[in-house]
């Protein structure tokens, strides 16, 4: 799942005929005057300014300013851009026309295993969240399109009448085209309104999640995806993502501040069991990581360096199941180089390393890891005969180390 910020999301909407308010994304305050001059609507309409970043709760953080004239916009943009919030310096703001309206509606398309559901309600904003059961749904099988009758029926069921029902159905059709053609996973407009100025159904705010794996067939996706957990990605996370996008196999890192057990496990499946094992014993994880698909050793080395740089860590878990085709010796060579660098930089002082792994070249890989002991590393190395997550039990002191 890959989330879009409002700017690129609205551009995709427009591409498929989904109406949005006038809007621009600003990243340079010095261009404000020019932009206002160039955009007529900015001179005679009320506007809203929002921080254009992947931040949750922008309204509460004071990063949304409403009901502004152009002077107010200038002031708001200057206030918002460059502000530091939750360790992130805001670099962009979106300015949009503020459209007064009487009624708010809700529409979404949600992917399901068989196809998609179109969700529609004749209420919007927080009202719809409180009345989830009032939402009407219709199913569209994968590879199919909704029929006009189907959409009119949906609109009427949701309480739209007459001409408005037709307008809403037509809008739903464009909205579905956008979802379907742009490899959507979940797109939602809340609120959806009837613009009194031009009598058109218009999207005021949107949640847009696309399938990042489909990027290869969308040459016009010129945007990068936003973080999905209410904060921007950290520099280390961005660095690892950048590597991940370039290599065969994968390397992943998400930082979790405050944790004391760092994870450097192999495999998308095993890594979650390692996280579970730590949490289950009352421990706290400093990150979620994994490497898999036989990534090159330099990529694993880079991931290792980032994991070793996590603050306040007392244990590093280098766990993994018995690999099918990931070469244990080669990937461990990357981890070992990363460890050596980290140790030279003093990052492993007071940190204990726990290793368990199997797979191609496991004997050579584990032997190389064991040799780190002679270099003064605090490291315990186990092979396939030690069950997968036992090293977590040992690390957190719930089981005596066998060695």
């Amino acid at each position: 799942m890959a989330k879009l910020l409002e700017g690129p999301a609205m551009a995709l909407f427009e591409k498929w005929g989904v109406k949005t308010p006038y809007h621009i994304v600003i990243s340079d305050v010095n261009q404000l005057e020019d932009l206002i001059e160039a955009n007529k609507w900015m001179n005679d309409r009320k506007m809203v300014v929002k921080a254009h970043e992947a931040l949750g709760g922008r309204f509460k953080l004071g990063l949304v300013k409403i009901d502004l004239d152009k002077e107010g916009v200038k002031k708001a943009v200057r206030e918002i851009i460059g502000r530091e919030v939750q360790g992130l310096v805001i670099s962009q703001a979106i300015v949009a026309e503020m459209i007064s309206h009487d009624e708010e509606y809700y529409i979404a398309v949600q992917a399901t295993r068989e196809g998609a559901e179109i969700l529609l309600a004749k209420m919007g904003g927080i009202e719809v969240e409180a009345n989830w059961d009032k939402i009407k749904r219709t199913f569209v099988e994968v590879g199919e399109k909704p029929t006009d009758e189907q959409l009119i029926k949906l609109a009427e069921e949701a309480g739209f009448e007459g001409e408005l029902a037709g307008k809403v159905a037509k809008f739903a059709h464009s909205f579905f085209e956008c979802y379907d053609n742009e490899d959507g996973q979940y797109i939602e407009i809340n609120p959806l309104i009837l613009n009194p100025k031009n009598n058109e159904i218009t999207a005021l705010d949107a949640v847009t999640n696309l399938d990042g794996d489909a990027r290869f067939r969308h040459p016009d996706w010129n945007f990068s995806f936003a973080s999905e957990f209410g904060r921007e990605y950290t520099p280390a996370e961005k660095k690892v993502m950048e590597i991940d996008s370039k290599v065969k196999g994968s390397v992943k890192l998400i930082e979790i501040p405050g944790g004391t057990t760092a994870l450097l496990p192999a495999g998308g499946g095993a890594s979650v069991f390692y996280s579970d094992a730590v949490v289950n014993l009352g421990g706290t994880i400093a990150n979620y990581s994994e490497y898999s698909g036989d990534p090159p050793s330099w990529a694993v080395e880079a991931l290792t360096e980032e994991v070793c740089s996590l603050p306040g860590v007392s244990n590093i878990i280098v766990g993994g199941a018995i690999a099918n085709f990931t070469d244990v010796k080669a990937t461990f060579a990357g981890i070992i180089s990363g460890f050596r660098k980290a140790k030279d930089e003093g990052k492993l002082d007071g940190v204990k390393i726990w290793v368990r792994r199997g797979g191609p070249n496991e004997l050579a890989g584990l032997a190389a890891m064991r040799e780190l002991k002679d270099e003064g590393f605090d490291i315990e190395v186990f092979d396939r005969y030690t069950p997968l997550t036992d090293i977590v039990d040992m690390a957190l002191g719930k089981q005596e180390s066998a060695q």
């Binding site: 290869f216 495999g267 949490v279 191609p360 396939r384």
Partner: protein
């Protein structure tokens, strides 16, 4: 028994080098299980018409590569497709397989397939009633019968995990790495697996647990099934519902990953695309574990509890007489995987008579070593090309003084204009459109007794003369006349005492100035005194001068022509490039440059019978 991947499986791999690597793993399995190779074809358009070689034991089997799946099914009996291509092509490959009547089973390892594509494949596989496993599925392992994909890892793991014969447990996982781990656990805590299937960790795996559970239920040899699930989706809930629906023959053991999600930031991405949904409600690890427990499955609290849970089920099955102990074989009792010669050499278990011997250079490390010195360290220390020549030609690190002489010799001999045999040959070749290496070789071929090739011989005889006739120049000349002929290194076509060769003079002056000991050069100069007295052009020429000095510096006789060849190569490359740049036209010499000393026209007589 086993389910859907068995002794009847006949596999076509759609994919290039990665697919061949997977096929090699499958061939290893054939060797272990004593099966004939069941990989019967590849589909890979760039190599269509060729074959890929697979080893079963020490037998090499050439497997045909086709352009399309249809060609593969028309020409072989394949019924199972392994998709091993990039996401942009994988969906079409799987669609082709679903639409091909000869294909019954598809397994796709490709990661990063768009969800919409996966959903279209789900729809088509339902319509066709075929098994569509994947995307991002590690494959299918039926112990002792069939392996589709790389699942099971390397040969030794197949043995350790008892995959050479069926056990009593089925395995269903999303994760590839864990399917291997579970097979290993089951081999330790019980009697091994019947079939293990990795369905892939995507949001919409094309197959589901229930389909396979039904198959396991109908396979009498499978007594219990281990499901490894994770948060996201509802395949585990569906499995629980299936298990609860009626009394099932198989025992069900389940373990679910993702409890940590309760304590982590919302929206966090885990390793699998499918592992992403709700915290507490539908799709959560707890919801899935509770559903399985409620349905009567055995659900250990943690992954660590899985081994003991499997052992308990196995012991119960044994006590109930449902399973009998199965043989456990060691590597000694099973076919050995033939190793490459390199392996035994590395282990010190095999002596190989070397084909060649090298005493000057070693390429086995991070960088080439010249006579033991790493090339980059020589560069960093300020050494130059003449030192490398010294190391590679005489195995000596020559002095800076000597290096300077070598440098000058190469500069002096680098070219001698377009008219000499070597350059002319290169130019002719260049003008005939011949490539660089061949054109330069054409020039080098000219180097011999009459052109540039006298250095070695000159060195040889000046050395002989210096050793045997140092104080007897006439004796040397007499010996040469009797045994060899003209003295190589003496004489020039245009240069003479009155018109001396500047190159020779400057080289001699430098050597003397540098204070290098040159007994052979001194001897050659005394020879020159005598020969020029007889005839003005019998001077010490540049070949002879080089030869004497280089021999004095300890370069072995056989290497001396090398200096001329090396130096002149610089010029020949220049001439080739010069012609290319100028667009030199094909050279054909004019009739008037040929003396046609041929007989007059004759009548052709009838062929002698």
């Amino acid at each position: 028994m086993s389910i859907f991947a068995d002794e009847n499986s006949s596999v076509v791999v759609v994919g290039g080098p990665a697919g061949v690597t997977a096929a090699k793993r499958m061939a290893e399995f054939c060797h272990l299980a004593g099966r004939e190779l069941y990989v019967k074809a590849f589909v890979f358009p760039p190599d269509a018409g060729k074959t890929a070689d697979l080893n079963v034991g020490n037998k090499i089997i050439s497997v045909p590569i086709f352009k399309t799946l249809k060609e593969a099914t028309d020409n072989t009996d394949v019924n199972t497709v392994l998709v091993f291509v990039a996401p942009s092509r994988a969906t079409q490959a799987a669609m082709d397989a679903l639409d091909n009547p000869q294909i019954k089973v598809i397994s796709m390892i490709t990661e990063g397939v768009p969800e919409k594509d996966a959903k279209l494949l789900i729809k088509r596989s339902k319509e066709t009633g075929k098994i569509m496993n994947g995307p991002s599925a590690i494959g299918v392992m039926s112990a002792g019968k069939c392996r589709i994909g790389v699942v099971g890892g390397e040969y030794n793991n197949l043995i350790l995990s008892k995959l050479y014969r069926p056990g009593s447990f089925g395995v269903l996982t999303k994760s590839g790495g864990l399917s291997n781990e579970i097979m290993w656990i089951i081999s330790q805590f019980a009697d091994g697996i019947t079939t293990a299937i990795g369905i892939g960790g995507d949001a919409y795996p094309c197959s589901d647990f229930v389909t396979y559970l039904d198959m396991f239920e109908n396979d009498p040899e499978t007594k219990a099934v281990v499901i490894v699930g994770e948060m996201g989706g509802n395949l585990e809930e569906d499995a629980a519902e299936w298990y609860a629906a009626k009394k099932r023959r198989i025992k069900l053991i389940g373990v679910i990953a993702g409890f940590c999600q309760e304590k982590l930031p919302a929206g966090m991405k885990f390793g699998h695309a499918g592992a992403k949904e709700g915290k507490h409600g539908e799709g959560s690890a707890r919801g899935k574990a509770d559903a399985l427990k409620k349905a009567g499955a055995i659900v250990p609290e943690t992954f660590g509890g899985l081994g003991p849970a499997i052992k308990k089920v196995y012991e119960e099955l044994k006590a109930a007489g449902e399973v009998e102990e199965k043989p456990v074989l060691t590597a000694d009792q099973l076919p050995k995987l033939p190793q490459k010669v390199e392996h035994f050499v590395e282990q010190g278990e095999m002596l190989v008579e070397p084909l060649i011997k090298s005493t000057i250079a070693d390429d086995r490390g991070e960088e080439p070593m010249y006579g033991g010195y790493p090339a980059s360290e020589l560069i960093d220390a300020g050494y130059d090309i003449p030192h490398v020549i010294g190391l590679l030609w005489t195995k000596k690190l020559i002095s800076q003084k000597e290096a300077e002489v070598v440098r000058r010799i190469i500069m002096l001999s680098a070219d001698h204009g377009p008219c000499v045999s070597g350059a002319f040959a290169t130019i002719m070749a260049a003008c005939a459109g011949i490539g660089l290496s061949q054109a330069v070789a054409a020039g080098l071929i000219m180097i011999g007794p009459r052109f540039g090739g006298a250095v070695t011989d000159a060195g040889k005889y000046f050395d002989h003369g210096y050793k045997k006739f140092n104080d007897d120049i006439p004796g040397f000349l007499g010996w040469m006349k009797k045994n060899v002929g003209p003295v190589p290194g003496i004489g020039h076509r245009v240069k003479s005492v009155k018109n001396p060769d500047k190159r020779v003079k400057s080289l001699i002056a430098h050597v003397k100035e540098a204070g290098i000991e040159t007994p052979r050069l001194d001897f050659a100069l005394r020879v020159e005194e005598v020969t020029t007295a007889k005839k003005g052009n019998l001077i010490l020429n540049v070949d002879g001068c080089m030869a004497a000095i280089l021999t004095d510096m300890g370069f072995p006789n056989a290497s001396l022509n090398g200096f001329f060849i090396l130096a002149r190569t610089i010029g020949l490359i220049g001439h080739w490039g010069d012609q290319k740049r100028n667009g030199g036209r094909l050279i054909r010499i004019f009739n008037y440059l040929v003396n046609y000393a041929v007989p007059g026209r004759k009548k052709v007589p009838p062929l002698d019978k």
